[in-house]
């Protein structure tokens, strides 16, 4: 019981971070059919910048903001400089993001060295709360809460706002959306930057739990990819469900049979890719 409770909370913690990472990845793909392999690098970059700001004496909030900003700027550069010029050539765009991923993560190694680091939680959230017979870190609980809130906000924007409507129109059918006078390019740019910013947020907030170290970028990239595949490309709700699924799967499998951790994550992917290439929530023909 106790075990189950704590594992569930652990799963939700990871799930939250995954959702922040995967939502951007998924929507961008749904929108432009771009598999952004530099998403993890953006996450890590945000995390490191946040860490440095905190080390330099900045508050956790400031660290978070600067991390988010850094990732967003990086995203903007990538979108503006490369992806824009390669519109309509999926393969080249994917390769390009792969190149960017290499450059960014190695530059990080260059600048910050290979020693893994971690962020300090804000003073108010240090220590742990007792849940019946067990205790659980306060920060993680807060993180889970924040995850739910952000999911709710994104969903509101996605479902309710006019801009969200435009976005969904683009995802459903780009040509028609364009024909209706929606500036797809602009929408794409905004989405890409927001996605990067969210990744940066995950980098900073996750920096407390997961630490920041080169290698985390690919790890998260891969998990996010898994989430997106399971959840379905271009579907926000899919990204949410997928994240939580993967998070729980991850924490329970790690605790129960650590040595199999990898298979328990990838088995579902392979199965889903083969039986239902469009993912649980995705529409046919996307991939």
């Amino acid at each position: 019981m106790n075990f189950a409770l704590v594992q569930t909370l652990n799963g939700l913690t990871i799930g939250t971070l995954l959702f922040l990472t995967a939502s951007g990845l998924s929507v961008v793909f749904g929108l432009m059919r771009i598999l952004n392999l530099s998403h993890g690098a953006m996450l890590l970059f945000g995390g490191y910048v946040g860490m440095s700001v905190q080390v330099a004496g900045g508050s956790f909030l400031l660290a978070t903001l600067s991390g988010v900003a850094a990732a967003a700027i990086l995203g903007w550069i990538v979108q503006r400089l490369f992806l824009k010029t390669l519109m309509g050539s999926t393969f080249r765009q994917v390769l390009l993001t792969l190149g960017v991923a290499f450059v960014v993560s190695d530059s990080i190694l260059w600048a910050w060295g290979g020693t893994p680091r971690a962020l300090e939680p804000p003073a108010s959230l240090q220590g742990s709360v007792s849940l019946g017979s067990t205790v659980y870190p306060t920060y993680r609980l807060a993180l889970i809460g924040l995850g739910l809130v952000s999911a709710l906000v994104l969903w509101q924007v996605w479902e309710r706002s006019l801009w969200g409507a435009k976005l969904r129109a683009c995802v459903d059918d780009r040509p028609i959306a364009a024909a209706q006078g929606i500036n797809v390019g602009a929408v794409f740019a905004v989405v890409f930057v927001i996605g990067a910013a969210l990744a940066g947020l995950a980098g900073v907030l996750g920096g407390v739990v997961l630490g920041v170290s080169v290698g985390l970028d690919f790890e998260m990239q891969l998990l996010a990819l898994v989430v997106v595949i399971i959840g379905g490309l271009g579907s926000l709700s899919g990204a949410f469900v997928g994240s939580m699924l993967v998070g729980l799967l991850d924490s329970f499998s790690k605790a129960s049979f650590p040595s199999l951790a990898y298979f328990t994550i990838f088995a579902p992917v392979v199965i889903i890719l083969i039986l239902r290439p469009q993912g649980l929530f995705g529409r046919k023909g996307v991939m």
Partner: protein
């Protein structure tokens, strides 16, 4: 064209090899293997338009099987080598049919996923694979036709011969009906099937051939280092092989071979002069993608001319009617 270039290149390298100090001879041997691997992947990327990001799996599996058989069970290196290639081929038979059901980016992702499964296996299954420590002390065959393979130069000549054979066979096959049919798969799957060809069968065949050749490269690589480690199943290796194909020029075989060969040297120089190899790799990626849509080939051969290769824009993008075929689940 291909033949001339490759043969000339091999001759040049061989001659050069005999006058270098043993370290650089060794580098040449490994570079040749990387060339072979890139060439093998081109069969998928350039001909079928299927970009695999998981070919390290076959490279490494072959190497690990060789290493385990020789070091743990004392199997004769020659047999172990064959077993290694067989294992890579078998793995391709396992993954191939599943992977070819997907197209475009899904294929890229599923191959990456398969690759990571193999990676997970090699890192976790410590008792057999030695985990992150890898397996050291893999014996080379002592000699062939009087050549003492323990000597770097002799081993280099051996490598040249093996690679040459593989290259010639591959080029021959791809210049024949098989190559034509694979191009058909990419250009218009539905039309090809309407002509009576089993498109998915061709895809699997290409996948297996590509994987087993990469397996050969993996075996040679393990023989050379007398060591196998998780870097041989790392996704970065997959990315590096793919980069070689892209830089070389998909669909030309010789382009990727040259690029694979050259990139290994770049890597050695890079690690020699600076510690920023990965960064350089990334920059090369970006530059190639931005400025050489058909790879270095485009510097040599005019577009449209036969053997001018495939424009990157057309990789991953299945030809007309393919979507209809997907509907049916093939």
């Amino acid at each position: 064209m291909t033949l001339v270039v490759v043969v000339a290149g091999l001759l040049a390298v061989t001659l050069a090899g005999l006058f270098m100090d043993s370290y650089w001879v060794g580098v040449c041997s490994q570079a040749l293997m990387m060339g072979l691997a890139a060439m093998a992947l081109d069969v998928l990327v350039g001909w079928c338009g299927m970009a695999s990001l998981g070919h390290a799996a076959y490279f490494g599996t072959a190497g690990y099987v060789l290493a385990v058989l020789t070091t743990r069970w004392g199997v004769n290196p020659w047999f172990a080598a064959l077993a290694g290639v067989a294992a890579a081929t078998f793995l391709a038979f396992l993954f191939g049919p599943l992977a070819v059901r997907t197209r475009g980016l899904a294929f890229l992702t599923v191959t990456l996923a398969f690759g990571q499964v193999i990676w997970g296996l090699t890192t976790k299954w410590r008792d057999v694979t030695g985990g992150s420590d890898g397996i050291a002390g893999v014996p080379r065959p002592t000699s062939i036709l009087g050549l003492p393979l323990t000597d770097q130069r002799a081993f280099f000549l051996f490598t040249v011969v093996i690679v040459a054979i593989m290259v010639l066979v591959l080029v021959r096959v791809m210049r024949g009906p098989f190559g034509l049919q694979l191009r058909g798969v990419r250009l218009s799957e539905l039309r090809l099937r309407s002509l009576g060809y089993n498109a998915n069968g061709l895809r699997v065949a290409a996948f297996v051939i590509s994987a087993s050749l990469v397996g050969v490269a993996g075996v040679m690589f393990t023989f050379f280092n007398q060591f196998v480690g998780t870097n041989t199943v790392d996704w970065r290796l997959s990315a590096q092989i793919l980069l070689a194909v892209v830089v070389g020029g998909p669909g030309t075989l010789w382009g990727p071979f040259v690029a694979g060969f050259g990139l290994f040297f770049v890597q050695i120089f890079a690690t020699d002069l600076t510690e920023r190899w990965t960064l350089i790799l990334g920059l090369l990626y970006i530059l190639a993608v931005l400025f050489l849509p058909r790879g270095i080939v485009s510097l040599v051969v005019r577009r449209k001319k036969t053997g001018s290769g495939v424009d990157m824009d057309h990789v991953l993008e299945a030809g007309d009617g393919a979507s209809a075929a997907v509907e049916r689940g093939a």
